[in-house]
């Protein structure tokens, strides 16, 4: 079956488009090759929660018709993609990794997914994730964990573990994930792929099952930086259906991507290289920084002094918002309903208690507690105040540097089961990613090396609000300097 990987895995989005246009490949053959790869690998990886073969082949046939007629092909023509199961597609399941939505079929399509399909992408299926995107290891999925394609006894990261693993194992060329505290960047790092956190408001969230609305974002995973830029360009932009989406115009993210880093000022915050950082991760990040310096970048030490307060701040704000967002799952309008309740309130409680897993309940409880009478000022308001301090750290830093370089995660992928009984230790896996989530800035994770055991390591590049082009330009340099 490895022949099948060789058949398409090295293909970039640009290769796919030109080979379809020349007739060297068909979209149908490409989708079939992906489905064969899924059959070969996904029994042990478990990235996909559902496959939509007929629908995908129908869409692929339409692209092949266009190509046969010599008509212009859209930018993602024939690109096989997978979608995290927190995003809706009309008529298809959207479980959010939860039993409470098992069997639910969405009545409308998320804007980001609609844009991919309009651009010619072929949706193969829906991808596994932590329940309601709450987790850093994918072990909170009600349908079983995803295994890291680089080491099956290790986690793929979370919560978008399926989205990262599918790209890493050649089971899709691009995928969509979501990131609330690191859920795109951390699995991208663990699985050795590129994952972008766009600026808050850059990508419409219409059709995203909400976790924490002031933090949730949608972004792409791909095998290389240029493809990530291409997919971001397709899904970004204003949407009247999402009042938080920005009206700012979307630039061509590939236009300046090859400009290199000569003369760019890149900040390295000391707080991200303190205690707790794995030595192999540190070495890989420092090697990348040295390469960027050699390529002409001005590396500047900077300080983001409130960094250590980011995890507690995040876990109050995210859980408070989650407790409100998840109140809608009550067994009335959609999803699971407990059968044995004879009053409305018993029906709510039993439906929710059966439908939600342990981590979701833990976060609903924490968030409800933080918002409850007598505790609001001490927890929620306090966290919102510290959020401003964390954001001001970044705004100040970006007056001196063009982008910031950090490790994406403190360690490479950890073992399945290693942290499941210790929520605080699991939350600390997000220590380098939650800061950008709280500040609303953009960033990405790009592979920058491997540990001695062959586990991927990711470099996080953070940029100003709406400066995705800069972050992609630096990432492209990192990728080029690797090879």
């Amino acid at each position: 079956m490895t022949v099948e990987i060789a058949e398409y895995k090295p293909l970039s989005i640009g290769d796919i488009r030109s080979s379809l246009a020349s007739g060297a490949r068909s979209a149908t053959a490409l989708a079939e090759a992906c489905f064969r790869q899924i059959e070969a690998r996904d029994a042990e990886i478990h990235a996909y929660l559902s496959i939509n073969r007929e629908r995908a082949l129908e869409h692929a046939a339409r692209i092949d018709d266009l190509a046969a007629k010599g008509e212009p092909l859209p930018v993602l023509a024939g690109v096989p993609v997978g979608i995290k199961d927190v995003l809706t597609i009309e008529g298809l399941q959207a479980t959010a990794g939860s039993r409470i939505l098992e069997g639910y079929r969405a009545p409308y399509t998320a804007t980001a997914v609609g844009k991919l399909e309009t651009a010619g992408a072929i949706v193969l299926g829906k991808l596994n994730c932590d329940e309601f995107a709450m987790g850093s290891s994918n072990e909170n999925s009600a349908f079983g964990p995803v295994h890291n394609p680089h080491a099956l006894d290790r986690v793929p990261g979370g919560s978008s573990g399926g989205s990262a693993a599918a790209v890493a194992a050649g089971m899709a060329v691009a995928t969509l994930g979501t990131d609330t505290g690191g859920s795109i960047r951390q699995p991208a790092s663990f699985c050795g792929v590129v994952g972008i956190l766009p600026t808050y408001g850059r990508v419409s969230r219409y059709g995203l099952i909400a976790f924490a609305s002031s933090l949730d974002r949608i972004g792409p995973f791909t095998a290389n930086v240029r493809d990530a830029a291409t997919v971001l360009g397709v899904i970004a932009g204003h949407d009247p259906m999402d009042a938080t989406s920005s009206p700012l115009p979307v630039p061509d993210y590939t236009a300046d991507i090859d400009k290199g880093v000569a003369g760019l000022r890149l900040g390295v915050p000391s707080e991200y290289f303190a205690e707790g950082l794995d030595s192999e991760v540190r070495a890989a990040i420092e090697r990348s920084i040295d390469q960027l310096r050699a390529a002409g970048a001005l590396i500047k030490p900077i300080s983001l002094p409130h960094t250590r307060y980011a995890i507690p701040t995040y876990y109050i704000i995210a859980t408070a918002e989650a407790s409100a967002n998840l109140a809608r799952f009550d067994g009335v309008r959609y999803g699971f309903r407990a059968k044995d309740a004879d009053t409305l309130s018993a029906m709510y409680r039993r439906s929710r208690n059966f439908g939600f897993g342990p981590e979701v309940k833990r976060r609903i409880m924490l968030g409800t507690y933080a918002l409850s009478a007598g505790y609001y000022d001490a927890y929620y308001k306090k966290a919102q105040q510290v959020r401003r301090l964390l954001t001001e750290d970044f705004l100040k830093a970006f007056t001196e540097v063009d982008a910031i370089l950090t490790p994406t995660a403190p360690t490479p992928a950890f073992k399945l089961g290693e942290k499941v009984d210790d929520p605080v230790s699991m939350y600390l896996a997000d220590i380098y990613t939650v800061t950008a989530s709280l500040a609303g800035i953009c960033g990405l994770s790009v592979p920058c090396g491997k540990s001695g055991a062959g586990l991927p390591i990711g470099l996080q590049i953070l940029g100003k609000h709406f400066d995705e082009a800069m972050v992609l330009r630096v990432a492209q340099a990192v990728e080029t300097l690797q090879s």
Partner: protein
């Protein structure tokens, strides 16, 4: 938030009721342990004097990316088709959602 704030099992029950959750005795025990561990970690925030800091609820407050003018005209527009929405419901007569009795005695 005092450094010594601890959650009691009564707090767990009160919050579970507010959150419409019905925890088993075993779940209550785990929740008590986990909430106290997490809140102990959160108490670090007390080190910071934030008395002069405005709370930040939304990123747009800081970057002002045009969201202020995001209000759309108040016009009648089509919404999702009732049949599609009702098809998702656990119990419906096609027009309304059906639920167990609301008034308890």
């Amino acid at each position: 938030m005092s450094d010594s704030a601890t959650v009691s099992v009564e707090d767990v029950r009160r919050v579970a009721e507010l959150a419409n959750l019905e925890l088993t005795a075993e779940e209550e025990t785990h929740m008590l342990r986990d909430l106290n561990a997490i809140l102990a970690h959160v108490s670090q925030l007390n080190e910071l004097d934030t008395s002069a800091v405005e709370p930040m609820a939304q990123v747009s407050e800081v970057i002002g990316s045009g969201q202020q003018s995001a209000l759309r005209p108040d016009e009648v527009r089509p919404c999702l088709d009732r049949a599609h929405v009702m098809a998702c419901a656990p119990e419906t007569d096609g027009i309304f959602f059906k639920v167990p009795k609301v008034i308890e005695r």
